[in-house]
Amino acid sequence: MKYLRKSLNAYKKEAILSPLFKLFEACMELVVPLVVAHIVDVGIAQADRGYIVHGILVLVAFGAAGLLFALTAQYFAAKAAVGTSAELRRELFTKLQALSYEDIDLIGTPQMITLMTSDINQVQAGVNHTLRLLLRSPIIVFGAAVMAFTVDVYAGLVFVALIPVLTAAIVTVMAVCTPLYRKVQEKLDGVNLSVRENLQGVRVIRAFCREKEELAVFNGRNADLRAAQKRAGRISAVTNPITFCLVNLAVILLVYVGGIRISVGALEQGDVIALYFYITIILTELVKLANFIYIVVKAVSSMRRIGKVLDLSDEPSLFLPPEREEGETAVSFENVTFTYRGGGAPALCDIAFSVKRGETVGILGGTGSGKSTLVNLIPRFYRTGVGKVRVNGADVDAIPKDTLRNEVAVVPQKSLIFRGTIRSNLLWGNDGATEEDLLAAVGIAQAADVVEAKGGLDGEIAQEGKNLSGGQRQRLSIARALVRKPKILILDDSASALDYATDLKLRTALKGLDCTTFIVSQRTVSVRHADKIVVLEEGRIAGLGTHEELLKNCGLYREIDASQGGDEA
């Protein structure tokens, strides 16, 4: 909630003015019964037609004034709500971008997108309705009570008794309902899950002849949902009858008290009419409130979810006081052990090796052996738990985040190219790159034909690079990394969609560059010419050396090489 307050702060003026004008509008509305009372007590009682016409004109004037106040209030409410949600959305986007990889993994893309879209919209609706309606209701309710007091103190007491009882009733119903509705949502998630899984897995389910069992599971979840809906519906069904009942009982009491007060000469008939209208106004307002309260309840839980993400801390730029980068060693791992948050066993265990500037290093290993994890520690996407990773002699924890990532370019397994042009994507590597720089990078990445196919560097790229093939995306994403002219280049299995000939050309071209290169692969052929090959198995180094050395003294490497037809060479 504190974030909401912060975002709302920029719209403090609107957030105050809106309810204020609502208050004015409510006053206009609250005066109406008094005018009607006078029409009855004076106009009708004394048959004064002029007085009546006068009173009616006053009513219309108050209505018009109320309209103006209401419109002003709506404008400020809309401005505050829209502005607040825009502010919140910007803040959330900034926060998401500032999160560490660990937090990104933890939250997950689908949830982030839900937060950015439906949750924020929910909050916007909530703020808007709160300013417009939720504040109006108490104003009207208490205003009506206050007006009742001005008419008659004893009658006012009826209101004083009614309001707490009504509030208690509504709050109780809401308190009981909210968890019930949460249950409904949970059950609905179960039904959603069944539907999604059965559609996506339709072939497997049929292959295993599981249609009947799946239907049984769904029927169970569906029945659960129905039961939860009925339970919640039963409670919320009580709201309207209860308010109606309480308000009308109060009316009876009021007429009775009114009668007594008339008989002692403290009131007139018209006053009782006015009091009756005050009570009706309260009823109308409460019914409206009950309908909108649900929006607010949803907004609050959305805001809570957003708040949880905003609570996360940004990824720090530095963990340790900065160190100078110097020395001949480009990258070194010193007894590094790394465990993913929430992961049981360490993903990397006791990794130690160092790489000289300009060397090419192959990282080889099976699925889940820790190859990607290892290279992700170099630009400090994840922080080592035990041991140290050094880049150019400095502890990565002691190099500012942006500096480090400017020196290290990673081409990830999944190549992501964004909407725009080829040029706009390549410039991600370096905004200051010249046309020659771009074309040179494209050449090395073997992507000249991609650029040509798209009609030059300004060729359009669709969202998520959908108008490119997997191999084209990979080559462009390699080019993007090269534009950066990195000191350390990491290809994380990023040539897997390339055919062998292109892969070979790429590796040959990379050799000519003046940078330290890491090539992560499952294929020995991609790494056999590296100056050094690190063989990983289940997070540990199983072999370290050149192709020839490893063939001689690393059983695992020999086995992998043989299984890939290495002997036929």
Partner: protein, 590 residues
């Protein structure tokens, strides 16, 4: 179309006729109470008259009012009971109908021809079962009662008003449509603004989706600030569009409220004048009458606004219902009840002159023959789109052949139940599919196996190790993306291993596992496959080398067949394909 949808809805509602009748009775009860209460309150107020006694004191007989009070209390009770029963019976009908259409729609997933599901995006089908069903229940059933009570309220109030005093009733009748017109006018004006808002939102969402999906790349290239700027611009644009849309649409309430207050004033005017004119007459228009009328004019205008909303929802709900029924009525796969099951399968598979196409304009497989002897390993190779996956669809009878026939042990597979056919195939597809359930449940899906059998299968599939490393071992619930693609595939392999079917189908199943693991898995498979026929869509050198028979497909035809050695010798299409697809290892050595 609309009419038939309505008829279907009524048919669904039929079992709930008693509940629906109860709903109607409850609605009438509640409306009657709400209409009569103000009338009697008015009468009670009229009863607040006093005489002045000799001492100048007011004398009033409050006991005379007790009859009115009792009647009002009865009205309250009627409304309370009516409203409550209305909600309950209505909820009951709505949720039961919702659950029943959902159940029917879901059951279709299991019985529809695969073509129906393949032809559509998953989201389209699931949104019918989830969102459309919801809107149908909300809009149609809940909306129906609102519509009904609203109408009853309007008619009831009108009737009572005309009975009480037609002159004043006429004023109410004539002026209230104004508020409806005002609301409609605003709605038509704001439509464009909402459209502009939706466009701006779509633009921003597209950008945010893309960048959030690529967050790691954004961070790797330190593009946070640049993205923040672009997002800020889009955000500002959205803010402006939203402001106008939301503000203008929110003027509806104040404007209708104003119109209503004009109605109120007019009623007060006409009523008050009438009261003066009728003083002392046989049927005076009393202050209490005026009170009741003013209260009615409020009650009368409210349902109008609600009804116009309900009608819009109603139309939407009808459209949803139409989609829902279209799905429920979609023709199912022809039933195979009564057909014999395929039993004691040896695994001799034979295709004779089969042809198939997904659409008549694009013939795919034509007049294809092959024989897979019991226990042999058949590798299927060919360029993308050559019909490899289609062949698997036909073997499993996800689709039926258009011409020719496929025989298992000499039996045409269309003459036995699909279930018995599929039970004899073990299948691992290109895309892995695991349920949100425990590892154990996912592994044992197709069989009643013992703990030890399950663990043995996991060990054989090289999955035991990483399963134990999961937080709760075999009892870990698999999330949507907890495991790597390779690990998921190992689980799918273990799942098939447990079934020990006589025939196996592997659709590029091993392409995501590193070669070394694949080799171990293949060793395990080799053991499993002794005496079992297997079809493998091959992408790996080792697979084709070990195959007993390679079927080389091109554009839906088998262009070559034989063993690896034979085909290499022939130097035909396979040789070309092999050089491009598999032999990179050779060329990579320079």
């Amino acid at each position: 179309m609309k009419r038939s949808t309505l008829a279907k809805i009524l048919k669904r509602l039929k079992p709930y006729t008693p509940w629906l009748l109860l709903t109607v009775v409850a609605a009438i009860l509640s409306v009657a109470g709400q209409i009569l209460a103000p009338y009697f309150i008015g009468k009670a107020i009229d009863g607040l008259v006093y005489t002045v006694d000799g001492a100048g004191k007011r004398v009033m007989d409050l006991h005379a009012l007790s009859r009115e009070f009792i009647v009002i209390a009865v009205c309250i009770a009627a409304t309370v009971i009516g409203q409550f029963v209305l909600s309950l019976s209505n909820n009951r009908v709505a949720y039961h109908v919702l659950a029943s259409v959902r159940r029917d729609a879901f059951a279709k997933i299991g019985t529809l021809p695969l073509r129906y599901i393949d032809d559509r995006a998953y989201g389209d089908v699931s949104s019918v079962i989830l969102a459309d069903a919801e809107q149908f229940a909300d809009g149609l059933l809940l909306g129906f009662t609102q519509l009904f009570t609203g109408l009853a309220m309007i008619l009831g109030v009108l009737a009572v008003m005309f009975v009480m005093r037609w002159e004043v009733a006429l004023v109410v009748l004539l002026v209230t449509p104004l508020s409806l017109l005002a609301a409609r006018f605003i709605a038509s004006r704001t439509y464009k603004m909402f459209k502009a808002q939706a466009d701006a939102r779509a633009e921003q969402t597209a950008f945010a989706d893309e960048m959030i999906a690529g967050l790691k790349v954004v961070k790797a290239y330190t593009r946070e600030d640049e993205n923040g700027e672009i997002f800020g611009e889009l955000n500002e644009k959205l803010r402006k569009k939203s402001l106008s849309a939301i503000f203008f649409s929110s003027t509806t309430n104040p404007v209708t409220r104003f119109v209503n207050s004009v109605v109120y004033a007019l009623v007060a005017l006409v009523g008050a004048m009438l009261a003066i004119a009728t003083v002392g007459s046989a049927a005076p228009f009393t202050a209490g009458n005026l009170t009741a009328f003013l209260s009615y004019s409020n009650q009368y205008t409210k349902p109008f606004n609600e009804i116009s909303e309900v009608i819009a929802e109603f139309q939407n709900a009808l459209a949803c219902a139409a989609r829902l029924f279209a799905l429920i009525e979609e023709p199912e796969e022809p039933s195979d009840e009564g057909l014999p099951s395929l039993e004691n399968v040896k695994g001799n598979v034979k295709a004779e002159g089969i042809s198939f196409s997904y659409s008549p304009e694009h013939p795919l497989i034509e007049n294809m023959d092959f024989t897979a002897e019991t226990g042999k390993r058949i590798a299927i190779v060919g360029p993308t789109g050559c019909g490899k996956t289609t062949l698997i669809n036909l073997l499993m009878r996800f689709y039926d052949v258009k011409g020719g026939a496929i025989y298992v042990d000499g039996t045409d597979i269309r003459t036995v139940t699909r279930r018995s056919l599929r039970e004899n195939f073990g299948m691992v597809l290109q895309e892995t599919w695991l349920q949100t359930a425990t590892v154990r449940e996912n592994l044992c899906m197709g069989s009643d196996c013992t703990e030890q059998e399950m663990i043995n299968a996991a060990i054989a599939a090289h999955a035991h190790g990483f399963i134990l490393r999961l937080p709760k071992g075999y009892d870990t619930v698999l999330g949507e993306d907890g495991l790597s693609e390779g690990q998921k595939q190992l689980l799918c392999i273990a799942r098939v291993m447990l079934c020990r079917p006589p025939m196996l189908i592997l659709d590029e199943a091993t392409s995501n596992i590193d070669t070394r693991t694949e080799k171990s898995v293949q060793d395990a498979f080799a053991k499993l496959m002794e005496g079992r026929t297997s079809f493998v869509v091959a992408h790996r050198l080792s697979t084709v080398k070990n195959a007993d028979l390679i079927l080389v497909m091109k554009a839906g035809e088998i262009v070559e067949r034989g063993t690896h050695a034979e085909l290499m010798q022939r130097r035909g299409f396979y040789y070309e394909l092999y050089s491009a697809q598999f032999a990179g290892d050779l060329r990579g050595t320079e």
